[in-house]
């Protein structure tokens, strides 16, 4: 579709875009992937430590330790976001700090902080899920589709 759009542009604009893109600084993809891998992995490593801590010190099993772990990670994210560190980690790590649950937490918390000046209802209330909302909408929708597929397979396929 992007290509089709490009074809409709006047030749001058097409030429300029080509000229421009030769001089545009590209995202360092390999470096970004590597950084995302390391930081993302490190966040998961911390999550694992927290899980293990809950299992050994409290009455949790491997299945039930997930919820308090997520809550703890989001609490840490809240502090990091509030004190202004998480956006710096995000600039360095990219997907590494955006994909884990901490990234989701950051998206909600950053919006909540930002829209405080517009009040609690129309500001924080309506904008808190501005960034995280699509994740929830399509997460729920994807789960619904998968559930239907599973049901059909189980009912008719006899798995």
């Amino acid at each position: 579709m992007a290509d089709e759009k490009k074809k409709n542009l006047p030749p001058e604009a097409q030429e300029y875009q080509e000229f421009q893109s030769k001089r545009e600084v590209k995202r360092p993809l390999l470096k970004n992937c590597l950084k995302a891998f390391l930081v993302g992995g490190f966040i998961c490593f911390i999550g694992q430590i927290i899980t293990t801590f809950y299992i050994y010190n409290f009455n949790f099993t491997e299945q039930t330790a997930g919820n308090p772990t997520v809550a703890t990670l989001i609490f840490i994210t809240m502090l990091l976001t509030g004190f202004g560190f998480y956006d710096r980690i995000g600039q360095f790590a990219g997907a590494g700090s955006a994909v884990p649950v901490t990234g989701f937490g950051n998206a909600v918390i950053a919006s909540a902080i930002e829209y405080r000046t517009e009040g609690f209802i129309l500001g924080v209330g309506s904008n808190m899920l501005k960034l995280a909302g699509p994740v929830i909408v399509y997460g729920v929708f994807a789960a619904f589709v998968i559930a239907i597929i599973k049901t059909i397979l189980v009912q008719w396929g006899g798995f």
């Binding site: 421009q20 545009e24 600039q91 829209y115």
Partner: protein, 338 residues
């Protein structure tokens, strides 16, 4: 007064009497802290919102410019200014505080020179004796409106730019001591179908090149006529693209005489990626830095080309391209003609 199709020559030479520049904490740590009359160490300026902080900066910049001059604010006929926030409310509130007749402008980051060109044109045509011309922007307020919440940890690409927190204002007068505004070229909107809001430099470069080319042609001067041709906020990408693009079109602009406000304001190592942007960028750097150099006699003639991307979040979400504009104003030192 009109030369060619889109250039004004100001025969009555309006002058920039005084200027006022205000910056934030990030600018204080930058490359040219001495360019600012006032630097704040608090992004909020003790106000309830970032937008109010921006309004306050605009008011302060105007007050400084008035204070430095020998006139009172009541003698000023018009306040011509704008900013990046929806419906330019910070500027409107600042105009309300100052109680001056007001022209509100929007040309995104090109507002500073649009305002200076209009001020000079009105004064040149005897429409006023004194005009306050300025523009302002605030990093957090702009990020919030155009991009993401400030604390959101999204990764920005190397082509993205850092919005300046500040306000710049020039007191333009019919006569007096100061650098003269000699001509202005009003730019056309240039749309090259660029769609990436994180690469505004690359999109605006075409507008800058178009306006500079037109200005040189219509004023019938060589690029070497100017000591410096100063672009507003093209950043690394836009500067290189526009320079190469002009070379391709046979404009013999030398690299050392082509500078960018967005690459002047911050120092190496500040996390600004491709450079600075924002409607305050060209205003504070021109009024605070380059005009000071001119006063010292280091520069005689400059052409300031402020560049703006005129998109909104709505137009980007609806997959429209980024329309760009550039306005050029030439400023020449007063002593040159004596």
């Amino acid at each position: 007064m009109l030369a060619g199709h889109q250039t004004w020559i100001f025969n009555n030479s309006p002058v920039i009497l005084t200027t006022g520049t205000v910056g934030g904490p990030f600018e204080a740590k930058g490359n040219i802290p001495e360019a600012f009359d006032t630097l704040h160490d608090d992004m909020w300026l003790k106000q309830a919102s970032f937008e109010k902080a921006q309004q306050k900066m605009m008011e302060e910049a105007c007050q400084i410019a008035i204070k430095k001059s020998s006139i009172e604010i009541e003698q000023v006929q018009f306040f011509i200014s704008g900013d990046l926030i929806n419906q330019i409310t910070p500027t409107s509130f600042a105009a309300s505080t100052m109680g001056l007749p007001f022209f509100g402008l929007f040309s995104a980051c090109a507002t500073s020179m649009e305002s200076l060109a209009l001020s000079a044109a009105i004064i040149n045509g005897n429409g006023a004796n004194y005009i306050l011309s300025g523009s302002s922007s605030h990093n957090a307020a702009t990020e919030k409106q155009f991009r993401y919440p400030t604390e959101y940890g999204g990764q920005k690409p190397p082509t993205s730019q850092w919005t300046v927190t500040g306000a710049g204002c020039a007191l333009v007068a019919k006569e007096g001591n100061g650098p003269k505004i000699t001509s202005a070229t009003i730019g056309k909107v240039v749309d090259m179908g660029m769609t990436d809001p994180f690469n505004m430099g690359g999109a605006m470069a075409a507008a800058a090149a178009d306006t500079i080319e037109t200005h040189l042609k219509e004023r019938n001067v060589d690029p070497s006529y100017y000591d410096l041709i100063i672009t507003g906020d093209l950043g690394h990408v836009g500067r290189e693209v526009s320079l190469d693009y002009m070379h391709k079109r046979n404009i013999s602009l030398e690299e050392k005489n082509y500078v960018d406000c967005g690459l002047t304001i911050y120092r190496e190592g500040q996390p600004v990626l491709a450079g600075a942007s924002g409607s305050a960028c060209s205003a504070v750097v021109t009024y605070g830095h380059f005009l000071k150099q001119m006063a010292k006699g280091e520069l005689k003639r400059i052409l300031v080309v402020a560049t703006g991307s005129l998109h909104s979040t709505l137009s980007i979400q609806q997959s429209d391209p980024i329309p760009c504009i550039a306005h050029a104003v030439s400023i020449e030192s007063g002593s040159d003609n004596v």
